[in-house]
């Protein structure tokens, strides 16, 4: 006979897991001002999370723009509505594909490196050593990475979307021979600064928080074994990706 409380055990565990993550988030956020006092480590992290991802993000954005334009072109030409091609591609990029695909690529490119780095620090007892030396690892290790991830995401999403627009221009105008004036003016006409551009930015900022938080948490709380580091890295990608997709649905239904 089980205890009656055992029935709620999974629910309690889920709540506790959520609670630990939000506590981690709250501590990271409160430590952000301390990062500004030590900009060196922050700049270093911005390099490892942002600069090294630029090539991947730019190429990704370019190809998404190319493919999207080809697909939209074939669909729109059936209705003779290719004049709104530029606007449609830019809307799709700014509202959905830019923030979401950037976040997914970021989770794979930078999130894994965060998780495995912190996991290895845990496994090689560097984090314990810091605590012994009365150095707060949250302040020293987590906070600069968190802030860097948070800021890198919207910048990367911007690069992604801008490259997507470039790709769209290459296909639409250079290859399909659309009129450049119609192409650019349909963008300015269809895309609103407040409801499309700014909401896309808000989305990608929130993805930045979620993605860096999850990767850092998984790495920080990895089991201190070789296997534990591997698992933490995998979990960081899986949880980040699912969180991004779920958050995207939630945010989209709230915003638009």
């Amino acid at each position: 006979m089980k205890r009656p409380g055992a029935l709620f055990q999974p629910v309690l565990e889920l709540l506790a897991a959520l609670g630990r993550r939000f506590h981690f988030l709250a501590v990271s956020v409160t430590l952000i001002p301390s990062v500004l006092g030590r900009p060196r480590s922050f700049i270093e992290q911005l390099f490892y999370l942002g600069s090294v991802s630029v090539i991947l993000i730019a190429v990704g954005g370019l190809f998404v723009g190319l493919v999207l334009t080809l697909q939209f072109y074939s669909a729109l030409s059936r209705f003779g509505a290719t004049s709104s091609l530029g606007g449609l591609v830019t809307l799709a990029l700014l509202r959905e594909l830019g923030p979401v695909l950037t976040a997914l690529l970021f989770a794979g490119r930078a999130g894994t490196s965060l998780a495995s780095e912190l996991g290895l620090m845990r496994a090689t007892r560097q984090i314990d050593a810091m605590e012994v030396m009365a150095v707060d690892p949250m302040r020293r290790v987590v906070a600069p990475r968190f802030l860097a991830g948070l800021l890198a995401m919207p910048l990367l999403a911007g690069i992604f979307s801008a490259m997507g627009v470039l790709g769209s221009y290459l296909i639409g105008i250079k290859m399909m021979g659309l009129d450049p004036g119609v192409f650019w003016s349909s963008m300015r006409h269809e895309v609103s600064f407040h409801s499309d551009f700014m909401n896309g930015m808000v989305k990608s900022l929130i993805f930045g928080v979620a993605c860096s938080l999850i990767s850092l948490y998984e790495g920080f709380h990895a089991r201190p074994t070789a296997e534990g580091v591997g698992r933490a890295t995998t979990r960081s990608v899986v949880i980040s990706s699912m969180t991004i997709l779920a958050l995207d649905f939630l945010l989209t239904s709230l915003m638009f």
């Binding site: 700049i43 390099f47 700014l94 300015r188 609103s192 600064f193 551009f197």
Partner: protein
Amino acid sequence: MRQIRSLEVTTGLFVLLGVAALFYLATQTTNYRTYGGHSYGVKAFFNNVGGLHVGAPVRMGGVTIGRVTAIRYNMSRYQAEVDLIISDHYDKIPADSTASILTEGVLGEQYIGVSPGGAPTFLHNGSTIHFTQSAIILENLLGQLLTHGSHSGK
């Protein structure tokens, strides 16, 4: 030291690139520019605004001169009240100009077209466009056409 320097330069380059991309997207691909600059507000009352929405362009001779900033129903006039902002570059629009709600193409977006009148006074901040023409509702038009067709067929 040298390695740190190149790291900082690359990071700076990344931030610059990101900000430039965002700036480009905001100013070149959205309607951001038409919101900026100095402008003045005028009002217009319509019996029916159709599918007009906030942010729709105001055009004169096909050139965008402003935007719709608000649409609400005026309970004392029983008409739709539309607020427009018009760029300061276009400050010599005659006060008796006509505002009509037009549609771009057959199924396109609706916008406000202003055709100039002949008055010596001009629209200024807070003035009202008195001559307006409501949106043409395609459904009503089709309905009229159908009933008309069936009558003449009898």
